[in-house]
Amino acid sequence: MIGYHFGRGRARWLPYLLLLPGIIAYFVVALGPSLATSVYSFTDASGLPGAPINWVGLDNYEEFLFLGQAARDNLNAVGRTLVFCFFVTTIQFALGLLVALILNQKLRGRNFFRTLYFMPVILGAVIQGLIWSLFLYPLGGPLAKFLEIFGARSEFLGAQPTEAFAWVIVVQIWANMGTTMIIFLAGLQTISEEYYEAARIDGADRWQVFRNVTWPLLTPSVNTNLLLNVIGSLQAWQLFLILLGYRNGTQVLGYLIYATGFGQTSGSVTSSFRQGYAAAASIIMFLLVLVIGMAVQTVLRRREARLMG
């Protein structure tokens, strides 16, 4: 409120007036629908125009969590989402950190490597997915040839669900590791050289320098990356769409919401436009993100407090 210089009276309302379009757009297109998801989750809304919407209470949740084979499939999808999140987060975090540490040295060609690793982020899921479908071509593609050397073979994306799922994890990390690396690099660059000097004068070896200087001072980037990776991987499923389609034994929660809500499935699994049900699944995903996000945040806060204290 302090120090508004651009007039009084009616003129004072101008900032509010000009703010409105952006705020209204945000409420109508994003925030409102997001909150309305919980309302829809208690209805039998379908995607058909003009179809009536009835209140069904907790039916969608009950069906999603407890009813028959479908519920077991759903819970498997939830489990798979967690597995996906765990592997993507830990590997991407560790790899991103390692690469950032290496590239933070004075190495020839480091700009080239940095650009190369970061480049996939601009390509988007369709191109990323198609490039990897070709790279994982099972009939004599590059990776198939590579495995041949060891006498191994794989159907890759056409393999058993567990293995196909693992390949999606690989592509997901390939596509997004650059972002983690960039955030770590930015963090590393804020660490003053003096700390390293001091540690070296104290006779610290490389591991001790990392453990006692780099790692604690990197806290902001560690926090950002962990949260971004956890939330991002819980919600990510675009690569599943491109690489595998809606295949039994590989679905994650995000894909399940899309498939039940919009009935666009392929392969043996079909479903209709059950939007109320999909909204309930969205809320379950939201709770998952919230609980895990909060847990990570709590751990990070404690860690920060310990480092500062």
Partner: protein
């Protein structure tokens, strides 16, 4: 772990073995990053029989006709035009409205600025808006309509946060001086603040436009008429038809990858600053 420890010091001269391990690791990783791209290029230059015979063998003669075939059959010019129109119009609307949201919030010129900013920050955690959004567009009669599709992209909470943070670095004395000179609020934001925050604007424009260009879920939900398809959806359609003919499909993918890679080399710093905005300060 050896590489990590050897690399732990920021600018210290690494021991020769440390440097060796570092390079070894970087090159190995580079193979995983370059390999898929090289395979794409190589495949796009081969004939289908030659690909089927030996997929990885280097293209002996260069078959550029794959590109002509893909270009002809894929209707890419139309899809690309659609994508460009969606990205340009939605980004323009978004950025113009976003500046007038971010500026008064950053300055505290509207009540509850802090609350408003929080509303944008929490967007990251909120439930997916997919279902009610669809119901809204359906009820507005904007399903399978380019205007309805563009409407989906006129918001971007992270962009607001980036702009607010950047505007805070513009000295407040400027507002006072301009006002004393008789400059009105609108003209001040439009012709003085806007040019000053150009780096942040560029970052937000780049991030937002790339997001629209690469969007794959929403076009499959909202657009059924092929004339409206953006390039992502068009590529999926093309894959559905030519999925087994890898050389043609690869040239199609390459034609879309190459411009993005070149664009990336120019826009990299904006993407970097967008991703790292706020993350370093904590």
């Amino acid at each position: 772990m050896n590489a990590a420890t050897s690399a732990a010091s920021s600018t210290g001269r690494p021991l020769p073995w440390g440097k060796f391990a570092s390079y070894g690791f970087l090159v190995l990783l580079a193979v995983i990053y370059l390999g898929p791209l090289l395979m794409l290029v190589n495949t796009s230059l081969k004939t289908t029989p030659s690909f089927n015979r030996d997929a990885t063998r280097l293209a002996s003669e260069l078959h550029f006709e794959n590109f002509a075939e893909a270009w002809e059959k894929a209707n890419f010019p139309q899809y690309m035009l659609n994508s460009a129109l969606y990205a340009a119009s939605a980004t323009t609307i978004y950025v113009v409205t976003a500046v007038f949201v971010a500026f008064p919030i950053a300055r505290g010129y509207v009540k509850y600025s802090g609350v408003l900013l929080t509303l944008f920050v929490i967007a990251l955690f909120l439930p997916p808006a997919l279902i009610p959004q669809f119901q809204l567009i359906l009820r507005l009669g904007l399903y399978n309509n380019p205007i309805g599709y563009i409407l989906l992209f006129i918001v971007n909470p992270i962009g607001i946060v980036i702009l607010v943070n950047y505007i805070k670095t513009v000295p407040k004395e400027l507002d006072e001086a301009a006002a004393l000179d008789g400059c009105g609020y609108f003209r001040f934001v439009w012709s003085i603040v806007l040019p000053l925050i150009r780096p942040a604007i560029a970052t937000v424009v780049v991030l937002h436009a790339i997001g629209i260009w690469n969007e794959v879920i929403l076009p499959t939900i909202y657009l059924t008429n092929e004339d409206y398809f953006p390039i992502t959806r068009g590529l999926i359609v093309f894959q559905g038809v030519y999925g087994s003919d890898w050389p043609v499909l690869a040239s199609a993918v390459l034609m879309l990858t190459l411009p993005m890679v070149i664009l990336f080399l120019f826009l990299q710093r904006y993407i970097v600053s967008g991703l790292t905005a706020g993350s370093v300060k904590g």
